[in-house]
């Protein structure tokens, strides 16, 4: 059994991690921490977990956490970086769902997150936990930076095209739509049902923190600088990300075949038949990215549609997928559940 700790499990990625780990046959939940809700029964905060998880939140404690084989951080940025060095020093492996170790360039990180990075020396060691790209290095990683939700949907959609060099890497556009749970479980007027329901809007068009993360990942793939116009939108639903991706084709190619071949052996990427339109509800609660590729009017713009559940393949499911790989388990263990529809 893998002894697991979770730091900061009072948010949405936290409760989703608990839902997945509670039924994982190789996991023993050892400690669940919360600075704000120490002492509270986990199921008092999350009524869906009643009769499934009997633990209480405890104050985060490095001693106790270091007794775990692996510790997940489901925290806002800046929390993981304060504890990770100590835990790594004691041999505990880390799966960080926050943004602390996603960018390799500390200066860039500091510019986008407006604060100093306290352990930049670990950035080179951190493995970007996108199994479809980095499966091999994930196996032996001590520190995983789980990709963000938008970056997962966007990179999986662009990857086949950039790897094969069939689109212009400096004319990329990602028009992305996210459910409101992406804003986290924090009291904010803009996320109220009375504000966000029956409403659609773009936000952060001037610059969103996922932009440098996506550009870094895509640049790695095509071995050259990429330029992405990234426009996120807030959509009136709880879960789900739909990324609509646009690229300028530079070669004629069988796009359907290109995508099917690229993901033929990927357990959690599903390339839909030609002419399809993936729906976010088809992945609700499930650790899968469904993708369709189109070339409207046979013109030179390729359109990729990519749908994930932001809390599963976009966060906690992908984190468990990383854990399964790191500990030599079946990669699908406990995360092969079926989306709930309707």
């Amino acid at each position: 059994m893998i002894k697991v700790g979770i730091v900061g499990a009072t948010g949405y990625t936290g409760v989703e991690l608990l839902r997945l780990l509670a039924i994982h046959p190789e996991v023993s939940l050892h400690v669940i921490t919360s600075r704000s809700d120490g002492g509270l029964a986990v199921s008092d905060l999350f009524p869906n977990l009643r009769n499934h998880i009997d633990l209480h939140f405890s104050e985060p404690d490095v001693e106790e956490l270091s007794a775990c084989d692996v510790v997940f951080f489901a925290t806002p940025h800046c929390v993981a970086m304060s504890m990770v060095p100590k835990l790594l020093a004691r041999g505990t492996r880390i799966i960080d769902l926050s943004a602390d170790f996603r960018l390799r360039d500390a200066k860039q990180w500091e510019q986008w997150y407006n604060m100093p990075h306290t352990c930049p020396e670990l950035l080179a060691q951190a493995v970007y936990g996108l199994p479809e790209v980095n499966r091999k290095t994930i196996r032996t990683a001590q520190l995983i930076a789980v990709p963000g939700c938008y970056p997962t949907a966007t990179q999986l959609g662009f990857l086949p095209l950039l790897e094969q060099g069939v689109i212009d890497p400096i004319q990329l556009i990602a028009d992305t739509k996210s459910g409101v749970s992406g804003a986290g479980r924090k009291a904010a007027v803009g996320s109220l049902l009375a504000e966000a329901s029956e409403n659609m809007k773009a936000y952060a068009v001037a610059g969103h923190r996922h932009l440098p993360e996506i550009e870094q990942g895509l640049s790695d793939v095509c071995k050259q600088a990429v330029s992405l116009t990234f426009v996120p939108h807030l959509t009136p639903m709880i879960r789900g990300i739909h990324a609509t991706l646009y690229g300028k084709l530079t070669k004629s190619v069988d796009l359907q075949q290109l995508f099917e071949q690229r993901y033929a052996n990927e357990p959690f990427v599903d390339v839909l038949p030609a002419g399809s339109h993936p729906e976010t509800r088809s992945v609700r609660g499930a650790n899968v990215c469904r993708i369709a590729v189109h070339q409207p009017q046979h013109r030179d713009t390729v359109v990729v549609l990519s749908a994930i559940d932001n809390l599963v393949k976009g966060a906690s499911g992908q984190a468990v997928q990383n854990m399964n790989i790191m500990f030599g388990l079946d990669e699908s263990l406990a995360i092969n559940n079926i989306a709930t529809l309707p």
Copy 2:
């Protein structure tokens, strides 16, 4: 392995049954029928089932169905009654999610459903599949009538009070609220998002078909006629039933203890701590009924709050629970999953 057939799996109780049975370790899905969609791949209709269920819908055929150990009917009323006699005659057990065998009185059935019942002789043999009341008879039943969604939430809420005789059985009120999936997967203007979203209304106040079913069940329990005012409401959400039940107390009693004792050994009824308010999201996708009991202002009206997922404990989950009991399996097998929250 239990060889399973499903008749009419193109509706919402059908797809939910498939989601649950697809991961059931003791079930082998043999045949899935649809009169309207014969030949279609199941996963073409329900994209959440892609890579989980490879079967195609076939035309309903008694020969093929009778090769199953058990056949589920997830059909509108009047379909099951036309095939059940033949299947029973060949030894196939039946779990009917429709209303065909829920009422014992054929005349009453015909009055509420406006058509003749074609096999009234089977009504006496049918077992009403509410495990919390009829677990023993379910074990050996050949024909199960799975309770309706409103009846499940309502009966589980009133049961402890009527069994102990602490409320007046002729002054019962059930104010119930259902998500729109309760209306089924059929094209109807009133169920359009543009009609049903941002809207709340009562319907069928003059008389709803679940009224005689509930009154029959409650009368059985308290061995006398009951009188229920039943007001269903359409609520702008996909899944969930919240029943708010009112009874007039005739005795002073520790209500919290009464409920906790009644359901102490029930795996799928969760009595919440005193002062709680169950939320439908806490049971979304899960086969559980969460209940709280209140006595506002210490007056003589008891208020019971009862929440289920109409498609799970209110339909398909309960159907699988019946199957588990009928075949001597662990009652919770494959239906002990955790609700998805948020």
Copy 3:
């Protein structure tokens, strides 16, 4: 022109008041105050008001407010009571949308609101602004307490029955459902879209502050103490209240005629034809209460369905209706708009 001031217009009743008053031909908006957002353009906070209202929020100032003919308070409780005595002393009339002057009994107020009332001497003078009951006294009132949203829907539904003495006043039940805007425009986890959408729950079953307000109003009508079981529910929509009311009939009476006669001359109460079910969307944005009355199965329980928009007939529309009456205008002026559907 009536010179109008609004105190605390940054909430939902505030913005709705502004939407209605902006087009009122007899109103001149003089000052709009906000303690938190002083200096901000009103249309920066509420983008629907761009090009319709050019004012900025200012700090509340008694001098400036007393230059108005009437001041609306769209504030949380306890704000109005701190300013109203000074404004009344200077001859400014008050329409208070908060709860400060709704209860006549100061002790009861203090018990339900957990704080001392700072001007109990004004309670006797305040007029409860339900025009369907108090139209005459509203005309000359200096201080109006606008009814709460649940109390409006509930009282309008019970009034005809209690006035005519056809139901038992100590066996009243109000099962009420509200959209989330009823919780106000304040950051609270429970009101997030990710928490409140796709969810239904009761709340405050042990005791809600609108209970004493409703019981006071209904007791006035039937000249005796009433007893109400009041269960509010949170519904996944922005606007709307649906009250489902239950009474025990003590006389046989033509209920449809009773309601139609009672409200024959009321411009903002619409009694639907027999057999109807009012929908909250039919009153969305409109200052009307739609009511239907049923007697299911011809038994002795009467069921009244009452629907309003909580922000209009349940708050700001009713406030303007009061103003129209107070200033001798056509009662419907500027509030006779049509609900938006779909």
Copy 4:
């Protein structure tokens, strides 16, 4: 008074047209037709219109319609073309909200709508009713083709850029998101709340009928062929369109100033301050298009955000705006109402 007839008022553009015309001071509603609901009271179908519109639907009759000064068609395509020639011959002016007269090229129309056009000779005479482009010709037009919802939001966003020649006209992208009312008030499984809520998807990526309409309009403006990639999405809300538009800049220009100058005198186009993000709720129920322009990272891709209510500025409000212009009235008469928020 303008004598008005409406053909086909049982859909969503119909009820919205009725809401707007019912309060129009210069309009007398003469006849409202419906082939399917002849004889029904309008307010029985649309409960928001109770006490506002007393007419009944009648069978469409050319004699009766030709007694009107103007007839609106709020019908599916192919209905208007069958009656318009007769009405024009009798001097009745036409405002057609359907697609019948939007394309000037009959062959193109037949290709996209899969049927012959029965009066292609009228296409040249029809005026495309986008007041921001064609105000002068609208004044004297006998036959107006009201633009589609997507085309309105998309063209208003691209217009300033193409008129000034600052973007490449053959690299246009429109990523558009619509509420479900855009699919109309017709029973269809895909538009059910249980299907479309909590879901996001693209549709018709291979080709949507609004594509040729938009390309025709934009080509007119920049006097050369344009090429647009157009991807519509279904969004889980009732009303609203958000168009996110991408263009490749070919010149350096002050984009904010460009947009503000272009629309300085337009009553129904609101250019937001630099850095803004328009929300669809800010135009809900209102006849306005709110626009913001961005140049992310100062790169060469311009992003325009354009929000309308699909049923108002995208259909019925724009139709009334056309009528006001045609009959020499104040262009804003009866359509200057404020959006409902929240």
